[in-house]
Structure formats: C-alpha cells, structure tokens
Amino acid sequence: MSQSTLVVAEATTEAPATGEAPAEGTAPAGGEAGHGTESTGAEGGHHGAFPPMDAQSFPSQIFWLVVFFGLLYLLMSKLALPRMAAVLNNRHKTLEADLSKASALKNETESAIKSYEKALADARAKAQGIATETRARMTAEVEGERSKLETSVAAKIAAAETRIAGLKEQAMKDVGEVAAETAADIVAELTGAQVSKADAAKAIAGLKG
C-alpha cells in the first residue's frame, strides 16, 4: 500500500509538467517496475517470481499435497473417524438404553398408580354398597316394626272404642230407668197416685218423642 503511493509519487515527480492523465498512465508501468525490483531484491534471485505464482514450485507442492492429503484421508477414513463414530455411537446407545429403561420404569410406576387407584375406587364402591345395603335393611326393619306397632295400636284403639260405645249405651239405658223411677217417685210424692214404673217409662218416652 505504501509502495503504490510511493510509486505514484515517483511517477508524478518524473512527469510534473504533463498533468493528470499521463501521470496516471505511467503509474502502472512504474508500479510494475517497482514491484520487480522489490521482489528481486527481497528474494535474492532465488526464483524471481511472486512465490505463490511461481510455476517452478508447482510439481513439488502438488506431489506433496497428494501424498499428505491422501495420507490424511486414509488416516481419517480408516482410523480416526471410525473411532470417533464408535465413541458417539456408544454414547448414543447408552443414552437410548437409559432413556428406554427410564420410560419403562415410568410406565411401571404409572400402572402401579393406576392399579392402586383402581383398588381404592373398588374399596370405596364396596364400602358405599355395604353402607347402602345396611341403611336399606335398617330402614326396612324400622318400617316393619312401626307397621306392627301401628296395627296393634289400632286394634287396641278399636277395642277401646267398642267398649266405650257399649258403656255409653249401658249408661243411656240406666239413665232412662233412673229417670222413670225418679218420675214415678216424683208423681207419687206430688199426687199420691201410684204410678207403675212401666207407665212412667212410657210417659217419658212420650215426652221425649
């Protein structure tokens, strides 16, 4: 970079009066010349050309490139890469095995949980069944007891009612008799006339009617 500016400066100093265009025209030529002298100076006349473009070195470089690249290819394909692949494959397999084991264990756990839950649900259902059954039995028993009691109570009530009715009838009959007797006594007391009990009863019945 510094070189090219130097060359341009040289070119302009060589042709100061000619102006812009000629100076530019001479610049590449000057640049080439400068490059030539510089490279020969640096390389001490070994090859003379720009090294990467020096065709004299090509056969040697191609030869050794083929040799060493071939060697590298062989070493890689036969030795290094298979080993690397084995390492990676080994890890891959181990991981796969571990993962499948883990998933199997997880499945086992899940099935255990499921069966536990099922047992729990079964037990709960059974308990509920027993409870319902017991409740039904108890209800039925209570119901039976109550109906028995109710019928017996009803029978007693009915008996009591018939007895009450009988007593009432008896009482009414007694009341009529007492009334007749009392009426006969009252008549005898008032009038002095003896009235038979039957007449008195007849008269009362007539009053009533």
């Binding site: 970079m1 510094s2 510089e38 490279s39 100076g41 640096a42 390389e43 070994h46 720009f50 090294p51 990467p52 473009m53 020096d54 004299q56 070195s57 090509f58 056969p59 040697s60 470089q61 191609i62 030869f63 050794w64 490139l65 083929v66 040799v67 060493f68 690249f69 060697l71 590298l72 290819y73 070493l75 890689m76 394909s77 030795l79 290094a80 890469l81 080993r83 690397m84 692949a85 084995a86 390492v87 990676l88 080994n90 890890r91 181990t94």
Partner: protein
C-alpha cells in the same frame, strides 16, 4: 531487517530436503510440504487423542473432537442426505486439512500451505473432478442434463446451457481462488501492518507513539484472520457438499 518487513517473503518456498526428481519434475521436500505433514499430524493426533478416552461424559479435548466430527457430519447429512455418507471422510479431511493449515499459518514464522494457489487449486480441481466422476458413475451420461435445465424455451436453451457450462467450469476457479486469495491477502495485510509497527518503532519516541495505531490494527486483523481461517475452511467444505449434491441428486 528488510527481509523481515517484506510482506512477500513469508510465502517463499525453500527446500528442506532434496532436490529430488520424479519423471523430470522437481519434488523436493519444501517447507510447504513440511507444514502439510504437520497439519496431517495435528488433525490425526488431535482426533485420536479425543477418541482415546471414549468417556460417556466427554472432557475438553473429547468435546472438541466430537464437535468437530458432528459439525461436518451434520453438514454432510443436511446437504447430501443419506447418500452422502461415503463422502463424509472426504469432506471431513478437506475441512480439517484446510482449517488446520489455515490456523497453523497464524503462528509467526510458520508457513501457510493454503496461501499458495497451486494447493488450493489442486484441491478445488480434485473436488470438481470428483463431482463429474461421481455424477457420471451415478447417472451415466444423463448426468449432463444438469447443463440443460427443464422448462427453458428452445430458442434460448443453447445460451442457458452455455452459461450453465461456464458456471460449472468456474467452480474450481472460484473454489480455489477464494481460499487462496483470503489467506494470501490476510497474511500480506497482517505483515504490512506489523511492518509499520517495526518501521515506526525504530524512528524514536514519535515513531513509537505513531506505531500504536498499526499495532492495534495488527491485533484486530489477527482476530479477523482467525475468523477467516475457520470461515474459509467451512466455506470450502460446504461448497464441496453443495457441488457433490449436484452429482448425487440431479433434479433440474
């Protein structure tokens, strides 16, 4: 000192062993070859060390190795699908080689293998060549229908096909040059800014104060270059996958 500041010097190759020749070509063992070897060694040893303990819960190194492996593995699977499995080692090797070569280049005095166009170009040509071979093996000559898209009017079909062919042929060029250009330019710019620091620093107190800005720039660029080193390796790998996808699944 002048050599130390020259931003091109770091790309210079020099023979470490040799010169050797095969069929008239010079194949001396250079510093570039040395660093290719180091990259291969680093990749291999890192991965082997990462895989050695094989712990179920990975340690730090093993995590890095696994991340590395799975990164490319997922990339190949996502782009290529199940059919891409045979190409996984190749994509992994490409990614790792480029990544480690790029990262090694970040060390001072280390050579950056991927800063030479012939290296990246060779890899790119290899990838695209492989795409052609795989495509023809997999689909026969019907694979060339890739260049003849469906539902295009006959009038402009030749032009479209021409454009498709050109776009296909430009793949190795763009694939190779992208990596090469990124690494080369990054290292040159780093060296230039670092060179400013040295130059200004040798100019006395005022120079030292003036060198603060390029020093900060060099630090920031170093961080950027680490990002680029990874990013370019990733881009190279994913483009390889995308191109291979064309060879495997031709549904145009």
């Amino acid at each position: 000192m002048a050599q130390g500041i020259d931003p091109i010097h770091q790309f210079q190759l020099h023979d470490l062993a040799g010169p050797w020749n095969i069929a008239g070509y010079e194949i001396s063992f250079t510093n570039s070859a040395l660093f290719m070897g180091i990259a291969v060694g680093v990749v291999t040893l890192t991965l082997l060390a990462a895989a050695s303990r094989a712990a179920l819960v990975p340690g730090r190194l093993q995590s890095v190795g696994e991340l590395w492996y799975e990164f490319i593995h997922n990339m190949v699977r996502n782009v290529l699908g199940a059919e891409g499995k045979p190409f996984f080692p190749l994509v992994f090797s490409l990614f790792s080689f480029v990544l480690v070569a790029n990262l090694l280049g970040m060390f001072p005095y280390f050579f950056t293998v991927t800063s030479h166009v012939v290296v990246t170009g060779t890899l790119a040509v290899f990838v695209v060549g492989l795409v052609v071979v795989v495509g023809i093996v997999k689909h026969g000559l019907g694979w060339f229908k890739l260049f003849v898209p469906h539902g295009v009017p006959m009038v402009i079909l030749p032009f479209i096909s021409l454009i498709e062919v050109i776009s296909f042929l430009s793949r190795p060029v763009s694939l190779g040059l992208r990596l090469f250009g990124n690494m080369l330019a990054g290292h040159i710019v780093l060296k230039v800014f670092a060179g400013f620091v040295v130059l200004l620093g040798s100019m006395g107190l005022g120079g030292i104060v003036g060198a603060i800005a390029p020093l900060g720039m060099a630090v920031a660029l170093t961080a950027l270059e680490f990002l680029v080193a990874f990013l370019q390796a990733f881009v190279f790998a994913i483009l390889t996958c995308v191109y291979l996808n064309d060879a495997l699944h031709t549904h145009h």
